[in-house]
């Protein structure tokens, strides 16, 4: 299975990295988020009575950059290649191997954008707990791979799908920890635990083991949803 899936995944990842605009955004979005979005987030939290400090806002913005890029890339992986993937599955590769190749490509892209976001954060403000921060940023990416793929499974139109991802992202970002004095607009959002971990790592504090297990469970759940979405897109339609 691996002999056919690994090179297929490499082709899928290569396809996305060949878009010049994607490469530009891969660098520009983390820089934009860490340098500009972080201060907007801090001011927004301040206006809502939240306690998000500037250093914490900078740290969490690296996570949002990884999340936004991974989510949109996962969405476009699914929505733009649905027909070709289904044809490849029908030709003999099967929907399972196509889906595994797609999730592998999405993870490779997620690791790449997480690395760029991590590096930007490191250069901007330094990180007290680099390993913790790296894992937390990747958790953001993994969670949004699930969200992007899920949106792609339901909506195939690029405009509507992108808008929905932006909506989810906006609600998620502005409902994060320390954003309001009441604990956020919503009680729970997918990235809440990952955001707690990233804020702690950025401020040089550790986090309880239960939080790490919790974020691992959420990230794995999101990746399972993504795998199911890729499989559904590659199988026979009803």
């Amino acid at each position: 299975m691996l002999s056919a899936t690994a090179p297929t995944a490499a082709s899928f990842a290569r396809e996305h990295l060949r878009t010049p605009l994607t490469l530009v955004l891969l660098l520009a979005i983390p820089v934009f988020f860490v340098l500009i979005f972080a201060s907007v987030l801090g001011e927004f939290a301040d206006a809502l009575g939240g306690t998000l400090a500037q250093r914490a806002a900078t740290a969490i913005s690296a996570g949002w950059a990884a999340a936004f890029l991974s989510g949109t890339l996962a969405f476009f992986q699914l929505s733009s290649s649905r027909g070709a993937d289904r044809r490849l599955a029908m030709a003999g590769l099967g929907p399972t191997r196509v889906a595994v190749a797609r999730i592998a490509a999405a993870l490779a892209l997620g690791v790449t954008v997480s690395a760029v976001a991590f590096l930007t954060l490191w250069l901007r403000s330094g990180i007290e707990h680099p390993l913790h921060a790296a894992v937390a940023i990747f958790a953001f990416a993994a969670i949004y791979i699930g969200i992007g793929a899920l949106v792609g499974a339901v909506i195939s139109a690029p405009l509507e799908g992108s808008l929905l991802i932006v909506l989810v992202f906006s609600v998620d970002a502005f409902s994060g920890p320390q954003m309001t004095n009441s604990g956020g607009i919503l009680g729970f959002t997918p990235t809440r635990t990952a955001a707690d971990l990233l804020i702690a790592a950025g401020g040089g504090q550790g986090s309880p083991g239960g939080d790490w297990l919790g974020v691992a469970a959420i990230a794995l759940g999101a990746l399972t949803i993504a795998l199911a979405a890729f499989w559904l897109a590659a199988r026979t339609r009803s």
Binding site: A4, P7, T8, S11, R14, E15, H16, R18, T19, S80, S81, G83, A84, R86, R87, L88, M90, A91, G92, L93, T236, R237, S238
Partner: protein
């Protein structure tokens, strides 16, 4: 899709090829398909196929015609396995080739990368793949585009790649949905010669089109009307 009612038969002359009449490579019986579109109160049910049945034999070149919206591509997708039917049965071989109406390709990948992906799907080793690809690039005359990305190809060259991907594993059954869209006259004639050569070698071929001008080249002509097949 526009639903139609009633069955009408129409006599269309076809060629009398000796090669027709091998073993059955495709059996389609009683296929029904309805689509549900829109949301209440504009929910509509469109009945596209109402019991379509036909077969294709090895060494047979079959044409399937029908008006726009008659359900030809829907039937083809059900036959291939891309779409499930509401009822009915399809018997097809494992080794089949499918050339869809709209090329299902990856815009950013090159012609060679497409061949590599499909060679893995068809389980062809490197030698068999290179032999098949070299032959098809020569037959369809697009060798010089091997390193081009799909987004850089003209519509006709994309269609050549679309067709070549369906042929590279020499399938028992070849299913072609409007395969010559975008071909120039020379390529169009070459397409028919390729199809006849493969038919003579024992391949079963089904060509779906809204317009089949080369009827004398076909062994059997079918027409999709009112969701059913009539043998003409």
């Amino acid at each position: 899709m526009t639903p139609r009612t009633g069955i009408a038969s129409q006599s269309i002359p076809v060629a009398d090829h000796e090669s027709a009449g091998g073993r059955r490579v495709l059996g389609v019986s009683g296929i029904e398909k309805r689509f549900h579109r829109g949301i209440w109160p504009r929910r509509r049910t469109i009945e596209v196929l109402k019991g379509a049945s036909f077969e294709v034999r090895s060494g047979e070149l079959v044409g399937l015609v029908g008006e726009n919206g008659s359900g030809k591509s829907t039937l083809m997708q059900i036959v291939v396995g891309l779409l499930s039917s509401d009822s009915g049965a399809v018997e097809r071989p494992d080794r089949l080739g499918y050339c869809p109406q709209l090329p299902m390709l990856w815009d950013k990948l090159t012609v060679d990368e497409h061949f590599e992906l499909f060679a893995r799907a068809y389980d062809l080793d490197d030698d068999a793949s290179e032999l098949a690809v070299g032959g098809l690039l020569g037959e369809l005359q697009f060798e010089r585009y091997r390193s081009y990305r799909v987004e850089e190809l003209s519509g006709g060259t994309r269609q050549k790649l679309n067709l070549a991907l369906a042929l590279m594993h020499e399938p028992e059954l070849l299913l072609l949905d409007e395969p010559y869209t975008g071909f120039d006259w020379e390529t169009y004639m070459r397409f028919w010669e390729m199809s006849e050569r493969r038919r003579d070698a024992g391949m079963g071929i089904l060509i779906v089109s809204h317009l089949l001008a080369e009827r004398e080249r076909l062994d059997t002509m079918l027409e999709l009307r009112g969701g059913r097949i009539c043998t003409c």
